[in-house]
Amino acid sequence: MNSVESVCVAGLVAIVQIGAVLVGGPLLLGVMRKVRSRLEGRRGAPIHQPLLDLRKLITKQRLRPFEASWVFGFGPVILVATVAAVAAISPLATTRPPLGQSSDFFAIIFVLLLGSVFLALGALDTGTPFGGMGSSRAMTVGALAEPALLVAILAMSIPAHTSNLPALVRIGLAHPVVIASPARLLALGSFLVVILAESGRLPVDNPSTHLELTMIHEAMVLEYAGPDLGLTMLGESMRLVLLLGLLVNLLVPWGVADRPGALAFVIGLVALVGKVLLAGVAIAVFEVFSAKLRLFRLPELLAGGFILAVLGAVTAVVSR
């Protein structure tokens, strides 16, 4: 295979992965809302409703607060851009994504954090009390979730001797015993807690409420309207689908394409959609049966996630 052709293939893989996350994010949100409303005895909006919402928001007039600076407009753009960049180089449908050698787990997490930080800065930018409140809460949750995530990645990296994400998935594929090791399982449990916290899902934040005393994420994006709000929604849903995609590929890597070739890639894509869909439905069912934690109880949940990661890391160090 000559170099021009391989560059084209790599670009195609990146575009397909970005496209899958781009369309899959809103659709997963729709599916989760549908499952939730069905279980609650409602009929619920159609699954593609978030896409329709997005179309409506994107075509609206751009409206920004008078005092807002460039940071305000930058927030949603950076959120979507970072998620798209990570989606391109992550092992989602194939274990050999373009620039795969640079998709280090730690680096990816920090790139994703850049989006959250800019969103928080954008919310602070207008100087409204709600934005500041939402930002401070989101950053508190983030600061508590971050150590758990870093230790969890450490726990996964020690047995594999690498923190390169495609390599972690490949090792799981080659040696299923590694996945069944307590280090990997505990770390993934911790990762799940962090995903729920970072994407504002139920025990941490209620995504369907606008009650000002309890909300975290919705308070942050309260000032956004029109295309900016659309981008924020899109970025958040894309991040959820991306993180879930990484989680399922680390937990059950089977189906992901390990060989070059169009057929393997398509199978990997279908497997990815199925696995993420299952994970999303499971989270939605869990949300029906759980209530939002009080803000002051959140450290307990996240400390629990942290301790799972620490146990995983300690186990990994000893059974190395």
């Binding site: 047995p159 015993v177 590694v178 069944a180 090791s181 307590p182 399982l185 505990l186 450290p299 307990e300 400390a303 629990g304 942290f306 301790i307 799972l308 620490v310 146990l311 300690v314 186990t315 160090v317 000893v318 059974s319 190395r320």
Partner: protein, 219 residues
Amino acid sequence: MSSSPFASLLEIAAGLVIVCAVVTLWRRSLSAIVKTLAVQGVALGAVALILGLHQHDGVLVGVACLIIAAKGAVIPTLLARVLARDPRSRESTPLVNVPASLVGAGALTVLAYSATRPVVALVATTAGQLIPLGLATMLIGFFSMIVRRKAISQIVGLLLVDNGIALVAFLATAGVPLLVELGASLDVLLVVVVLRVLAAQLWSRFGVFDLDQLRELRD
């Protein structure tokens, strides 16, 4: 890194024991704590069962069934019957708050690992490498007994210590003789019954399970 399904299963079962110990510190609802204890009993039995099946040791398999019955069913049922008087009771004000005690549990685990380093170096098998988990469970049990105030939580702490000791025994020596195991189990069962009576007395006298209410001894 583990290499065989046997080692992997053993690691998961032993890992479940310590995770359950941590979860008892994490949860506040006493009934959830008792349920977690039942899961831990089953996990402990699974460790013995896996070891017994791997070594073709019939006695060990019998002991495993005994443990699953006693620690997974009988003792939790006894505790649950005490709790039935006040099903919504919670460990509301532990001396150390929950996040701090979770971090403490992490520190105790690290301590257990560093303290058992010479032992682990001595035993080359997978089971031997898991000995620190038993010690960590034991330390977390002690910790739970120190910082928790309700009578039920104290019993749970004691049972955590016992489970930790049993885990170390299984992993280090591939099972103690049946008679010793029977004696230890009956001993713990007796302690649980006594503490259960104490908790019931506390409840009927004061309407709480809180041991801090016991300021002085009277006849």
